[in-house]
Symmetry: C2
Subunit: 302 residues, 2 copies
Amino acid sequence: MSVRLDTKAPERYQELLNKYDTWMFDCDGVLWHGDRLIDGAVEVLHILRSQKKRVLFVTNNATKSRRNYKKKFDGLGIEAHVDEVFGSAYAAAVYLSSVLNFPMDKRVYVIGMSGLEDELRSEGISFIGGTDPADNTLSAPGEIPPDPSVGAVLVGLDTSINYTKLSRAFRYLHSNPECVFLATNDDSTFPSEKGLLPGAGAILAPLLTALGPNRPATAIGKPNSTMLDAIKAKHDFDPERTIMVGDRLNTDIKFGKAGGLATLLVLTGITSEENLTGPSPSTIVPDYVTASIGDLRAAVAS
Amino acid sequence: MSVRLDTKAPERYQELLNKYDTWMFDCDGVLWHGDRLIDGAVEVLHILRSQKKRVLFVTNNATKSRRNYKKKFDGLGIEAHVDEVFGSAYAAAVYLSSVLNFPMDKRVYVIGMSGLEDELRSEGISFIGGTDPADNTLSAPGEIPPDPSVGAVLVGLDTSINYTKLSRAFRYLHSNPECVFLATNDDSTFPSEKGLLPGAGAILAPLLTALGPNRPATAIGKPNSTMLDAIKAKHDFDPERTIMVGDRLNTDIKFGKAGGLATLLVLTGITSEENLTGPSPSTIVPDYVTASIGDLRAAVAS
C-alpha cells in the first residue's frame, strides 16, 4: 500500500524531507509538461537545495547531451547544474567508461544523434557511425568487413536511422560475440512535439530481430538498474536515504524500487488515480503518492 | 517419419509424379545456389512439364517483381512463366486485391522497393510511400496528419528504410484501428551477396515494437497460410494432389504441411541430415526427403 500524502497533513512532507538526502527527479510530467512548468516545481527544488539535499535529474532522453538538456532547465527558470543531469546518453557513456571499463583501443559503433556523440566524447570514448555522413545514406550498404576495433554497438533514438547503419551494427554484433550490445533506453515510443513517434526501443528492434534471442541488448535507461549503476559511478549516495520522484509506474517507480530507493509518484503526468485504485491496479506500488511536486511546498509552510 | 527416397529405388520417384499434379518449388537452395544451378534441376522441371504437371515457384523474395524475378530463371536457363512465379510481393498484392477485396478508394502506405510497387500496380492497388522521393529522406519527419484514405500499411524489405517512413506507417496504424497491417514476409535476415543482412522481419520490427502487442501484422510469405490463400486466389489446384518442394523446414515444409500439401525436403540447401536425425531433430517432419531435386530424374530412367 502506498502512503497517500495530502497538503492537509503538511507535517508528512517535512518527514519526507527529513528522511531522504538525495532526491532523484524524472523531468517531463514531474517538473514540466513540454514548455509549461508545473506549479511549485521551482520553489520545491529551491527548498530542497536550501536544506542541503542532493538533487539529480534522471531522464531517458538520449538525443540531447546534458549540456543541451540543461538549456531546457534554463529556459524554464529551473536551477540545474550539468553534473546533476543524468540523461540516458550520458548514462550509457558512463556505463561504458566506468562500469565496463571499455578499453581505450576499442571503438563504439553508434546509432544515434549528436547528443549521444557529445557524451561519449566527454567520457573519452572513441566512436564511429552516428552522424558521420558516410553512414547517413539511403543507398544500399557496400561491403561491411569485420572490424575487430569495434568493441561495442550503442543504439539510441536516431531520426536518421537507415539500412547502412542497421547493417553495419548487425554485422559487427553478428561476427563478433565479444562485441558489447547496448541501448540508451528501450522506450517503444516517444512523445514528440508532433505527436507520438517510434522511440529508441523501435530503433533497436531491427537488430534484436535480425540477431535473434541469443543476443539481447543491455538497455541503460529507466527502469533498468544499469542507469543506477551509472549514477553510482559518478555520485556517492546512500540508497536508503534516496527517493525517486516520477510520474510513470513502469519506468520511474519500477526503477526506484529495483534500486532499493524510496519512490514518490506524482499524478501530474501519465499515471492517474485510476491506475492505482481502479479495477485492475498496477502491480508496481510506489511508497508515496502525492498530487503534484508542488505539494512539497507544504513542508516549509507547516 | 519421413519417407526417404533414394535413386536406388527409382520407382518411388515415379510414384511421386503419379500422385501429385501441382508442384510448388522454393528456389534458392532447391533449384539454384546464388548463381549456380543445382545439378538436374532443369531436366526435372522439363520432366514435370512433359507430364503436364503444374509448376509454381513460391519464394519469400519481396524486393523483386515476378517480371524481375523471371530474369533470374532466364539467366540460369530455367523455363518459367511470369504467372508461375509467386514472390511474397506479388502474393501481398493478390492478398489485398483478392482475399481482402481492398477498396478501390483506399491507398496502401508502402515500406518497400520498386518490385513491391510493380506488383501492387499489376493488381490495380493505389499506394503512396515506397520509392517516392518525398519519403526517402534522412531529415526528421514533419507533421504527419491522419489520412483516412490510407487503408493499409504494407512492409517489405526496404534498403532505403528511414525514420520518416517508419513514423508515417506508425501514425497511420496508430491513429486508425481499421488500417490493415501487412508484411510481405517476416524473415529476420536475408542472405545478400555481401553476406547476411537484416531482412523484412527486421524492417517490420520497429513498427511492431512501437505499436505494441495488440497490433500484430499479418505476414504473407512462407510459412504463413496467407501465401497459400493468395496462390488459391489465382490458381485452381487440389491440395491433396499438390506437393511443396523446399530446403527449409521452418518455412517451406511448415508452409506445405500447414496448407495440407504433401512436402518434399531436399538436402541441397539449409537443412542437413543432422537436422532430421541428430540428437535434437526438428519437430517439423517432411513427408518425403531426397538428397537433391536432381534425383527425380530417376523417375523417367526407371
